[in-house]
């Protein structure tokens, strides 16, 4: 076995060299024995005073009393610790743009599955050296651009750039170019949609290819697509996909995608995982974990301090706990130095160890875990016979600040980190000069020396002490009557010799001992944060992430606005149980329930906003006229503080819509304002799927400036045509699938239809399974859409804004569409010149179901008084007016079976008001959803007090800390709300 192994090595040595030799051959010896070292053969197991034999790039032997081969040269490593060479699990390599995109590449410029990074990799000496300095010997290299960025690779960090594994994983990034780009996709919405479509296409392409090959007579040759080809194979082999995440919610999003397509997926972490640790631990992904912790923020100016949110300050305190928290929850990870420079990586790693991460887990995250994950577990990550000779050598414990990395070995070749010419001369010396002798003391601190010559008790300080390699020189004044004397010398082993020039003497010194080590200061050690995570993190967050159970609540002697058949009831009791309305009546009695005195209070159903853009990270994919494939549910932001603020105004539900930048925008999400929940749990389970359409000035880019005049359509005439074109193609697509599903013989030999997410959504509209929410203003376009819909056999769900709806209310009624409008907005653009606040009332009077919406994170906090405008303008009754923001939007969203009114059996979503709900005097006192209290004035006061105290404490802690940032600016800004307010400004 051993001989075979050697033979193999020899072979590889001979045949590795392909290129012709230029000049003389170089064959440096490749057999070494590293002796007397402490050797970590794997995380948690070490051998003291051990020897490693290296031959031709491999570890030939390791052990305590092993025979050193005759041909091996011994390197004595007494006092050193040897670890298996560290692997940096994420090193971004800047990718080269392709000069010519191959004709068989994917149509989208961000899909680069074909990119093989290993073939672009060029070792750069400077970069290699900086990685060696941290102890890394191998790296997982990844591309740095695109959505599907390409295939990552595992390489040796040697000068040759030896590739160990050429295709480790497919790298996926949520790369968002933003509004400045006109190429699809420019938003997070579009990015997720492209991800999903491409993964689907890959499966289809694989099948299509096979069928085409099998039945060439029945199928035209398939247009080649190299990227889909790669994916198709990738998925068949179940190779990993890595999702690059920038915060905890983006991990949860990646789980959803990976779940939908059954991907073998990894996560490139962000350091924020601890914030949703239980959800992350449930899935337990492999995480490539960076350690870029926040610098200490500069709060020295109290007003500047205001620009830090409490969650940012908390992250400063908690970030270094993240690795230990992941381990505690059983999540495995590998480390990367990504985002860190110089000694920051080790410094931060040590901080995490001080906060409870074990050295064994840390070492595994640098060695065995990445080696195994990346497919080299049998050759990398351990110091074992037959493994590659990758070593990291430290003059002590790597996980303690003081030790230094001496060198790295990569494939049996040494890459020194500390210059070999450096010698350590700190200590006590006996200095002899002529006949006199002195004591010489040399101290070293942070790589610079200081020293003094001591005679009896007199201390002469050395000045201009210079040590470089084996040269030493200084000046000293030993006799106050004479001037300074200049000394030069050479450093030998534990001995120095030289000349004292001005004294015209020669000197020599012998090392007689070390200096007493200064004790490590205990206060430098870090402790785990005492803070607990809030859900969501930051002010107003809840203290645990477990969903609360519905309470049994009896509100007594109160006014209930049922918004149902019973109308407004005074002096009644209302009982909520199991998250539902249980009973409404006079003098109800129930045991074991929490009683609330409702005297003087008013109870209404939770308010519903039928047009909102809150709680989402992304609103418009505006690059194409039709983007029916994008989904708001993919970009939910459960941490958006506007959720809490709107709850405090009595809002319990909202229809989160795509923007109005294009004719057919994206799919909506109907949410309940379940503050503290994950994005998934905001989604309302009973909601009917919907989609945003838009007409008029926004979709024809009327107010986008003179440069945007070429995207089709630019007129309302074109808007109609683009709609007809879209639905006509949806009909054809639908027919193709119907035909396919009939399972005729012909389909057995033919390529199946390709699933198209955009057309799927349109077909759902045709089938009445997905309802339209159409942004509209003028009567002509409203009328037009009803006609187009009728031609294609479907009904428009709601017209949104619909500010000229009052002009064609009869048509709306006849068609069966609802209207969700602003109470009183007008005059902000030309198409709303005829908008009137009587719109809502007049449409109601004609028989259209009308709601008032906010389209604004600000306005959504006071929808009750918006409803009052239905009384002011057009004399709706108070009950009708309140319905504009309760049952009517529920009807419009097709959820009125469950919400929108207080009737027995419906959801316990309700608000307690201090006064008549339509009065400006009314204040929202409590907001409940599904029988759970999500807001109350009392609880709010508690949270305010808690958060003020917490913030004060954190600020105090930061102020009393010595700044470690050395002028470095804050590096962890959190932007968790997208700043768009309404359909005009969102453009």
């Amino acid at each position: 076995m051993r001989i075979l192994f050697l033979y193999f090595c020899l072979l590889s040595l001979i045949f590795n060299q392909i290129e012709p030799v230029d000049g003389l051959r170089e064959n440096p010896p490749r057999v070494w024995a590293l002796t007397h070292a402490k050797v970590y053969i794997e995380p948690g197991t070490y051998l003291g005073n051990a020897t490693i034999v290296i031959r031709d790039g491999f570890i030939e032997n390791v052990g305590r009393d092993i025979r050193i081969p005759n041909d091996a040269t011994v390197l004595d490593l007494t006092g050193k610790t040897i670890y298996s060479g560290f692997i940096d699990s994420w090193v971004e390599i800047s990718t080269q743009p392709e000069n010519t995109i191959p004709h068989d590449a994917h149509w989208n410029h961000k899909v680069n599955a074909r990119r093989e990074l290993y073939s672009q990799y060029q070792p750069v000496k400077k970069k290699l050296e900086s990685l060696h300095k941290m102890g890394f010997t191998a790296a997982h290299i990844v591309p740095d651009s695109g959505i599907f960025q390409g295939q990552t690779a595992l390489v040796q960090l040697n000068n040759e750039g030896t590739v160990l594994i050429s295709a480790v994983a497919q790298d996926i990034a949520y790369e968002v170019d933003g509004w400045g780009s006109d190429k699809y996709p420019n938003s997070l919405l579009g990015v997720v949609a492209l991800l999903r479509q491409t993964l689907m296409d890959a499966t289809w392409y694989g099948e299509a290819n096979a069928i085409t090959k099998q039945f060439p007579k029945f199928n035209e040759p398939l247009k080649g697509n190299r990227d889909l080809d790669v994916f198709s194979n990738w998925r068949q082999e179940n190779k990993p996909f890595i999702f690059e995440t920038n915060q905890e919610l983006s991990v949860l999003r990646s789980f959803n995608i990976s779940d939908e397509f059954q991907l073998n997926s990894w996560i490139r972490g962000s350091g924020y995982e601890y914030r949703r640790i239980s959800e992350i631990a449930k899935v337990n992904p492999f995480i490539i974990l960076p350690l870029d912790f926040p610098v200490t923020p500069d709060l020295s100016h109290p007003y500047q301090a205001l620009s830090y949110s409490t969650s940012e300050l908390k992250h400063w305190d908690l970030a270094a706990d993240n690795p230990a928290i992941l381990i505690d929850h059983g999540v495995s990870f590998a480390f990367t130095s990504h985002g860190l420079k110089g000694n920051e990586f080790r410094k931060n790693l040590i901080r995490s160890i001080e906060r409870g991460l074990s050295e064994t887990d840390a070492l595994a995250a640098l060695t065995t875990i990445p080696a195994e994950k990346m497919g080299k577990g049998n050759q990398l990550g351990k110091i074992e016979q037959g493994f590659l000779a990758n070593l990291t050598i430290v003059d002590g414990n790597y996980f303690q600040n003081k030790s230094k990395i001496v060198s790295t070995w990569i494939g049996g070749e040494e890459y020194p980190v500390l210059p070999k010419y450096d010698t350590d001369i700190a200590g006590e010396w006996k200095l002899t000069m002529g006949k006199k002798w002195y004591q010489l003391e040399l101290k070293k601190k942070n790589n610079s020396y200081s020293g003094s010559v001591i005679q009896d008790t007199t201390n002469f300080k050395l000045s201009k002490l210079k040590i470089g390699g084996r040269f030493i020189s200084w000046q000293v004044t030993l006799d106050s009557t004479a001037g300074p004397s200049r000394f030069t010398g050479h450093i030998l082993e534990n001995r120095m010799e030289g000349t004292a020039h001005d004294l015209q003497l020669s000197w020599s010194a012998l090392k007689i001992g070390g200096l007493e080590k200064e004790e490590k200061k205990e206060e430098d050690k870090e402790n785990s944060s005492e803070l607990s995570v809030y859900y969501p993190e930051g002010t107003y967050g809840l203290e645990n992430d477990v969903l609360q159970d519905a309470k049994s609540i009896l509100i007594q002697n109160t006014t209930v606005w049922t918004c149902g058949k019973q109308g407004k009831l005074e002096g009644v009791d209302i009982l909520f149980e199991g998250g539902k309305v249980k009973k409404i009546g006079y003098s109800l009695n129930s045991k074991g329930v929490t009683k609330i005195d409702g005297t003087g209070k008013h109870i209404t159903p939770g308010l519903i906003d039928c047009h909102s853009h809150s709680a989402a990270f992304s609103i418009n994919e505006g690059t194409q006229s039709i983007t029916a494939e994008v989904r708001i549910q993919d970009v939910m932001n459960s941490d958006d503080i506007t959720i809490y603020r709107q709850l405090a105004g009595g809002l319990t539900m909202a229809n989160i819509l795509h923007g109005s930048a294009n004719t057919i925008g994206g799919q909506n999400a109907v949410i309940k304002m379940r503050w503290g929940a994950t994005p998934e749990y905001l989604l309302y389970e009973n909601a009917m799927p919907g989609i945003k359409l838009a007409l008029g000035e926004n979709v024809k880019q009327s107010n986008w400036g003179d440069e945007n005049t070429t995207r089709y359509p630019q007129t309302r005439m074109g808007v109609e045509q683009i709609l007809r074109d879209a639905f006509a193609s949806a009909v054809e697509y639908q027919n193709e699938w119907i035909d396919f599903r009939k399972n005729n013989k012909k389909w057995k030999k033919k390529i199946p239809p390709r699933q198209d997410l955009e057309l799927d959504a349109l077909v759902e509209i045709l089938e009445g399974k997905r309802q339209i929410h159409c942004h509209s203003y003028r009567q002509d376009e409203i009328l037009m859409l009803t006609r187009v819909a009728e031609d294609f056999g479907f009904t428009v769900g709601t017209f949104q804004h619909v500010l000229e709806g009052y002009k064609v209310a009869d048509r709306l009624k006849e068609h069966g569409a609802n209207a969700s409008t602003f109470s009183d907005w007008w005059a902000y653009k030309y198409e709303v010149i005829d908008a009137i606040p009587y719109n809502g009332a007049l449409m109601t009077d004609v028989g259209v179901t009308v709601s008032f919406n906010s389209d604004s994170r600000e306005l959504a906090r006071r929808m009750n008084t918006e409803a009052a405008k239905g009384m002011k303008y057009g004399n709706l009754s108070e009950e009708e007016a309140l319905k504009l923001v309760t049952i009517n939007p529920a009807i419009q969203l097709n959820i009125d079976k469950w919400v929108g009114s207080l009737e027995v059996g419906k959801d316990a979503d309700f608000v307690i008001w201090s006064d008549h709900p339509l009065s400006t005097r009314a204040k929202c006192e409590q907001t409940w959803i599904d029988g759970v209290q999500y807001f109350s004035l009392e609880k709010d006061a508690e949270l305010k007090a808690r958060d003020t105290e917490l913030r004060d404490k954190l600020v105090g802690k930061i102020l009393s800390k010595k700044s470690d940032s050395k002028g470095k600016k804050w590096n962890h800004s959190e932007k968790k709300s997208v700043d768009h307010h309404n359909c005009l400004e969102e453009l």
């Binding site: 007003y303 620009s307 002010t539 603020r645 009624k813 907005w825 303008y873 709010d940 600016k969 005009l984």
Partner: protein
């Protein structure tokens, strides 16, 4: 040229309101049986008010006995002084998105000389819409760059801008530069320029003041070196103390910087915006700096602030003894919506501000800060008869305004919205979808 002319003509036709300005008051009027919200002297129940020649002659009880003139019984109704919007682009803008209809921002950052009232379009459709809800006076404010121009207090009725001007100039408007210093790493370079640019911006304002003072000196001393400079000329009324400088600032660092700057330059100032003013109440109180608070309907400035911060700020100002009034948002986007002014005050009231203070904050307090409280802002003898009658509390949305008077002239309360409402009601009466006879 012709094209521009015809476009202008088109818009002026489109946007000219149909309402006819009221004629001067030619006979005395007494309303009786009303709940009179004098603002200056509390609420008088079942009271009477007499006005003639555009002025209030008497307010109280039993006036009709003293004056032998026809009285109008409005029992159950409420009388309020005309509400005052303390800043918008009313009259300077029609359709926000249509460039040709925007007249509020002159080119460049230093425009102290421009006057709002000269381009106030008295036929703007937004004017009748606003007064329909009791907004009878509005400050029209130029908005451009740093020193944006002089504002004018307009009456919301009149044939020409000259008719409609109640007071000009009211203030010189200065939009305080951003004092924000970026904290993020990526913005490090930007940060340096931030720091420099805010110092430079303040220096630029200082330079302008210095130049204006030098200009004034040349002018006053009738120097032979004096040559006219309209921009500097525009600065003079502030330097002479005739009008205050209205400094628009929201963030706490801006507010402080502005206050100390005005102090250093010895100028009288009014703070406009004031979102963070609750953080600096002591400073504002000590220096007696009035605040036009425009942020009631806004979200908190910072994520960690109280959800109701914007609502409670007026109460905090009131408690601290800071002189303040409440106004609508200054954003030109909100100009068509200044009719909602009373609901800004109402929101503050439901979050702590005493109800009568809320009403004062959109009437008399505003008049005081704008320097017109001799004329308007309350129902007091000798003041102008700028008032309206409503069927309830004007701070409640459900209340309807029924009649209104500006300087005793009864004004037409119809507007574009009511007209269109009526028109389309007729449509549905014609086709039988609405009951009732077809109205005319």
């Amino acid at each position: 040229m012709k094209l521009i002319y015809s476009i202008t003509l088109l818009f002026s036709l489109l946007f000219a309101s149909d309402q006819i300005p009221g004629p001067p008051q030619d006979h005395p009027i007494i309303f009786t049986g009303a709940t009179i919200h004098t603002v200056s002297h509390g609420v008088l129940e079942n009271a009477e008010i007499l006005f003639d020649g555009g002025k209030i002659i008497s307010v109280g009880h039993n006036l009709s006995a003293m004056y032998k003139i026809e009285k109008i019984d409005i029992s159950g109704k409420h009388i309020f002084p005309g509400l005052i919007s303390a800043g918008s682009t009313l009259g300077l803008q029609e359709i926000g998105a249509v460039r040709a209809t925007r007249d509020y921002a002159e080119v460049g950052s230093i425009n102290p000389n421009v006057r709002a009232n000269v381009s106030y379009n008295p036929d703007s459709e937004i004017i009748p819409i606003s007064r329909s809800n009791g907004i009878l006076l509005a400050l029209s404010v130029p908005r451009s760059g740093r020193m944006s121009g002089m504002s004018s207090l307009m009456m919301l009725d009149g044939w020409t801008w000259e008719d409609a001007t109640l007071q000009h100039p009211v203030g010189l408007h200065l939009f305080w530069p951003s004092m924000n210093v970026a904290k993020s790493d990526k913005a490090e370079k930007k940060d340096k320029s931030d720091k420099e640019s805010r110092l430079k911006s303040i220096q630029k304002i200082d330079d302008l003041i210095q130049e204006s003072r030098a200009y004034l000196k040349l002018k006053e001393s009738r120097s032979s070196s004096f040559k006219h400079d309209l921009r500097l000329e525009g600065m003079l009324s502030v330097l002479t103390g005739d009008i205050p400088v209205f400094i628009h600032a929201n963030e706490v660092r801006q507010i402080e910087a502005a206050v100390y700057w005005a102090d250093r330059q010895n100028l009288e100032m009014v703070l406009v915006g004031g979102k963070d003013s609750w953080r600096t109440t002591t400073l504002l109180k000590d220096r007696d700096i009035p605040v036009i608070y425009t942020q009631t309907h806004s979200t908190p400035m910072r994520r960690f602030e109280n959800y109701d911060q914007a609502f409670t700020t007026p109460f905090q100002l009131f408690e601290a003894g800071v002189k303040f009034c409440i106004s609508n948002s200054e954003s030109p986007f909100q100009t068509p919506h200044i009719r909602n002014l009373p609901y800004h005050a109402a929101k503050a009231a439901s979050y702590g501000l005493p109800w009568e203070e809320a009403l004062r904050s959109i009437t008399l307090s505003t008049a005081e800060i704008l320097g017109v409280d001799e004329k308007v802002g309350s129902l007091e003898v000798g003041k102008e008869a700028t008032l309206f009658i409503a069927d309830g509390d004007i701070l409640d949305i459900r209340t309807q305004v029924e009649r209104a008077f500006i300087q005793g002239r009864e004004i037409d309360l119809t507007d574009r919205h009511k007209t269109l409402y009526k028109k389309y009601k007729i449509k549905y009466q014609q086709n039988g979808l609405l009951k009732g006879p077809v109205l005319e």
